[in-house]
């Protein structure tokens, strides 16, 4: 026992032990030297003599070390050294194996880094499971009205920190140049609910959150650094935001950017927070913002949901029209909302990377089997001279572990840089809320665990097999050829077949996603994006409270833009297709209202005259707006074909009038009755993969002032201009005209083609990632079958030689090899086809414009895979042609 501890101590105190040893050897040498000097030698001679008598100092040290430490550690080091030597001796094998593993592990690391970010650290809020979003069970969903907010806030038995929030933009005009700030209107409880620390000053008081409360603002730490140079005196400063003076009372460390992530799917950093100031006695039932809350301590989600459901009746009794009889209230964890969209994506990606890793492992296992077979002679000798089976297995395991660890290290950096590159190459706004993918210990330990696991699992089998050799057979054999028996090759064939079938599944998946991406671009979007430029301006502040003011400013700016040479048409809108879709309920005047508070609901957008020309949206019937449709003229509305078909089965919509109100953005129910004056073709407003829904267009000049104010707070005005050609100079000139005309900053300048591209970021990412995985799988499978066939041809050199000597045709032999390889490949293809047929349905929610069992995919992919397999088989088969019978017969 004592010895055990001494040795153990020696392991850990190696340096001390080394020192002790040198000291003792020195002592011995100096004593010897003394002796020789006493015999009359010169000190120099004596020193040399002492060394001679002592023997090799280094050898002594080595012997000493042996005695000092554990044998197995020592052997372990030897195993590793030996493994490195072995691996270096066959660089082809080593590099192939490490490369395959790097691809397999790298793909997993890449996806894990996303999963790690999204799932393991999902919401940067304290206690994310108790953080809920309050919603209505149908209709508006998570969008809420002031009345609903006040009602929910009163449910204090189950909820606390009930917070309303709405993101938008404000114009900061205090600096040298006007600036656009990302802003959020929030309840005073927001910083508690989101867990955002206020690092300077304070957050809002309940009094400041009441109507006509003080104009105060909390700025983000980001803005504080950028705009105010981290000035500690910033508190108490008054700034002009959209024309109103606000006093800065706090600086919030909102680096997690959570508020905005929830407010919209495009999430720029927030700059400033202002109090929402909702009237506790409000009767405003129009839905235009989100409400989040925290569950009260001790209250379960179910209890909160039950209470909310029960409270719906109380609400209905207060606001009879604001909630349909079927509708109710509920709470959902924010986490579920955030993750619901990406769950199936992560499932598919996770499955895909798992397959890639399996293929890589099958590849390496195959290589190890081949290699172990080639080393039977060596292993046999080692066993014969007394190595235990455990020792041999350990040696082989050390080799496979070394391989997988090297592969893991390469995979870690490959995957890490790969995912960063991928995220950089697509628009990340529409992706799952990936914040910052960092190389953290999660990632490193994941890669390490994966490497060790694959090393042990896929190294153990070949090692066990290799160590179970029959000494007699092996030692009698001249070496090299043993282990080529049918059983061994069967195992390898099975591995190759599974590689091909797994690759098949992946390729089908990536083909489906590529077709989805193509279909998105082919989809009839209903508007012409070419040569259209879009840019935005925020009409917020006291000057633009009235819709007439906004409409006038817009008309003036548009007139200037239209006068530019090269401009074909220009218009303004609240909602550029694929960027923003707002919704509103409507009643058809003269018809009885149905069960729901409105007769129907659909998308809603304010547009100026010229909008339909800019996007070349065909007018089907009636007329579109002119500048004469303003606040003084009768209310008008243009609807789309879908709406006409859905709501006017037998009558003519052009004879009817609409009341757009409840549920309309920010409207207080005073929207005028509107005559339907025209029907236009359908446009995909929300996304390319979403079919158009009923849509209403109204002129900005005709919306009520309250609606205008809310709208301006929510979304900036977008300018849309059709040009002959989008040249940089023209775009600059348009921008300049708008800026000069309105005196407001212009931002988010994008061509409409860019807007389309940005909106497909998710699908592009899916297709790209799956294509990368599919190609990796294809490559690995090709390497696998090539390697096996090349090995088999090499093994059978002698047989081929004999056949040739006996008069077989070389081409016949080549065809025999090809036949063998292809029968394996085709087995894999068929199995993979079946598997893909079964699992492709899992991808349904990711697809658009293509069925999970798309016949084209299920014909083209197997053909392509077979072609690649044929190539991989053909190359080694050609070697059979080059066999020289004379050499082959001597081949041992």
């Amino acid at each position: 026992m004592r010895r055990f501890f001494l040795r153990l101590a020696n392991l850990f105190r190696n340096r001390r032990a080394e020192h002790e040893m040198s000291r003792e050897i020195d002592a011995h040498l100096s004593l010897l030297q003394d002796e020789f000097e006493r015999q009359g030698m010169s000190p120099e001679d004596a020193r040399r003599a002492a060394r001679r008598v002592y023997g090799g100092v280094e050898q002594a040290k080595e012997l000493h070390r042996d005695a000092r430490s554990f044998m197995w550690i020592e052997q372990f080091v030897k195993d590793i050294r030996f493994s490195i030597r072995q691996l270096r001796r066959s660089p082809g094998f080593t590099l192939t194996a490490i490369g395959a593993l790097a691809i397999g592990i790298g793909a997993n690391v890449a996806i894990f880094s996303v999963v790690n970010d999204v799932l393991l650290t999902p919401l940067p809020v304290p206690d994310p499971n108790r953080f809920v979003v309050l919603m209505t069970t149908s209709g508006e969903g998570a969008v809420a009205s002031p009345a609903r907010f006040i009602h929910w806030r009163a449910q204090t038995s189950v909820l606390q920190d009930v917070t309303a929030m709405r993101t938008g933009a404000m114009n900061y005009t205090g600096g040298e140049i006007a600036e656009q700030w990302q802003s959020a209107q929030v309840s005073e409880s927001a910083f508690r609910a989101f867990g955002i620390p206020v690092i300077q000053g304070r957050s809002f008081t309940p009094e400041e959150d009441l109507p006509n409360g003080a104009r105060v603002a909390v700025i983000s730490v980001n803005l504080w650094r950028r705009r105010f140079a981290s000035d500690p005196q910033v508190l108490g400063k008054t700034i002009l935001l959209s024309g109103d003076p606000y006093t800065i009372i706090g600086v919030a460390d909102d680096s997690a950017n959570l508020v905005n992530q929830m407010g919209s799917n495009q999430a720029p950093r927030l700059d400033v927070y202002v109090p929402f100031q909702i009237d506790p006695n409000t009767r405003d039932v129009d839905n235009s913002f989100f409400v989040v809350a925290r569950l009260k301590p001790g209250v379960t989600l179910q209890q909160a949901q039950e209470r909310l459901r029960a409270s719906a009746n109380e609400y209905r009794s207060k606001f009879p029209d604001a909630l349909g009889p079927e509708e109710s209230f509920t709470a959902m964890p924010v986490l579920d909302v955030v993750l619901s969209d990406i769950r199936s994506l992560l499932l598919v990606l996770g499955g895909a990377v798992g397959l890639v890793l399996l293929i890589a492992c099958a590849n390496v296992a195959n290589l190890l089997l081949v290699r172990a077979a080639g080393r039977n002679h060596e292993i046999g000798i080692r066993l014969a001279v007394g190595a235990t089976r455990g020792r041999v297995i350990r040696q082989l395991l050390a080799e496979s572990l070394l391989l997988t660890l090297a592969g893991g290290a390469a995979g870690l950096s490959l995957g890490y840089s790969g995912i960063r590159g991928l995220l950089g190459s697509v628009n990340a706004d529409d992706l799952p809320p990936v914040r910052d993918i960092a190389m953290d210990w999660h990632l490193v330990s994941f890669a390490l665990a994966l490497s060790l696991l694959t090393g042990i699992v896929f190294g153990l089998l070949p090692a066990l097999r290799a160590s179970r050799v029959d000494l007699n057979t092996v030692l009698k054999d001249s070496g090299g050829r043993w282990g080529t028996g049918l059983r061994q090759n069967k195992a390898r064939a099975a591995l190759v077949i599974s590689e091909i079938s797994l690759a098949m599944v992946l390729l089908v998946g990536s083909a489906l996603l590529i077709r989805t991406f193509v279909a998105l671009y082919r989809a009839d979007r209903g508007f012409q994006a070419g040569n259209v430029i879009t840019m935005q301006t925020s009409f917020s502040g006291p000057k633009y409270v009235k819709s007439a003011a906004v409409a006038a400013a817009s008309r003036e700016a548009l007139e200037r833009v239209r006068s530019l040479p090269g401009v074909i048409a220009a218009s303004s809108t609240c909602c550029v297709p694929l960027q923003i879709e707002l919704n509103a309920g409507f009643d058809i005047i003269g018809r009885r209202a149905g069960d729901r508070p409105n007769t129907g609901s659909g998308a809603w957008a304010t547009v100026s005259a010229g909008y339909f020309n800019v996007f070349q949206i065909p007018l089907k019937r009636g007329r579109v707006f002119t500048d004469r449709d303003d606040a003084t003229s009768p209310g008008v509305v243009v609807i789309n074909e879908r709406m006409a078909k859905e709501y006017w089965k037998n009558t003519d919509p052009l004879n009817d009038r609409l009341l757009i109100g409840h549920g309309a953005v920010g409207s207080s129910g005073d929207d005028p009755p509107r005559q339907i004056i025209g029907i236009v073709a359908d446009v995909r407003q929300s996304a390319l993969n979403t079919a158009p829904k009923p849509m209403m267009y109204v002129p900005r000049a005709q919306i009520p002032n309250a609606t205008n104010a809310t709208l301006s707070g929510m979304v900036p005005m977008s300018w849309t201009v059709r040009t002959q050609r989008n040249t940089d100079a023209l775009v600059k000139e348009i921008q300049e005209q708008v800026r000069q005309s309105t005196g407001l900053p212009v931002f988010n300048v994008h061509s409409m083609d860019e807007v389309v591209r940005l909106s497909t970021g998710q699908q592009q990412f899916n297709a790209l990632v799956m294509t990368v995985f599919g190609s990796a799988a294809l490559l690995l499978a090709a390497i696998g079958i090539y390697g096996l066939m090349a090995y088999m041809v090499q093994q059978r050199t002698q047989e081929i030689g004999i056949r040739l000597a006996l008069g077989a045709e070389a081409t016949q032999l080549r065809n025999m090899v090809v036949r063998q390889g292809m029968s394996m490949a085709l087995t894999g293809v068929v199995i993979g086809l079946g598997a893909a047929w079964g699992v492709s349905r899992l991808m349904e929610s990711l697809l658009f414009g293509v069925k999970p069992r798309d016949p084209v995919v299920f014909v083209v992919v197997p053909l392509a895979l077979s072609a690649v397999a044929l190539l991989s088989v053909w190359l080694p088969a050609r070697r059979a042609l080059r066999v020289d019978p004379a050499t082959a017969l001597r081949h041992d």
Partner: protein
Amino acid sequence: MASEAGDRMAVLQGTLGLIVLRTLKSMGPQHAYAIATRIQQFSEDLLHLNQGTLYPALVRLEQQGRIKGTWGTTESNREAKFYAITKSGEKALAEETLRWRRMSGLVDKLLSEGA
């Protein structure tokens, strides 16, 4: 090496520990050099001892708890580690001596019978 060894004997494997224990038992605490010198003198230079090989034996014995080393100074004022036999070392010496006697007796017997 071989030519230098001449008719000297290499230390029989496994006996070095026994010899060291025996030396320490009869001479009291000694440093490695003294042990090496003593062994060589005692065997009248018949035993070839590569002095470096003494160390692993000493370390092993120390780890086994049969000897204990402490640093001290020699008469010539050099520092050196002095080894002393421990209780368990004396016990082991007794056992090993017995085993060796039996062994050598057996070998003697075999050799004389063969002759």
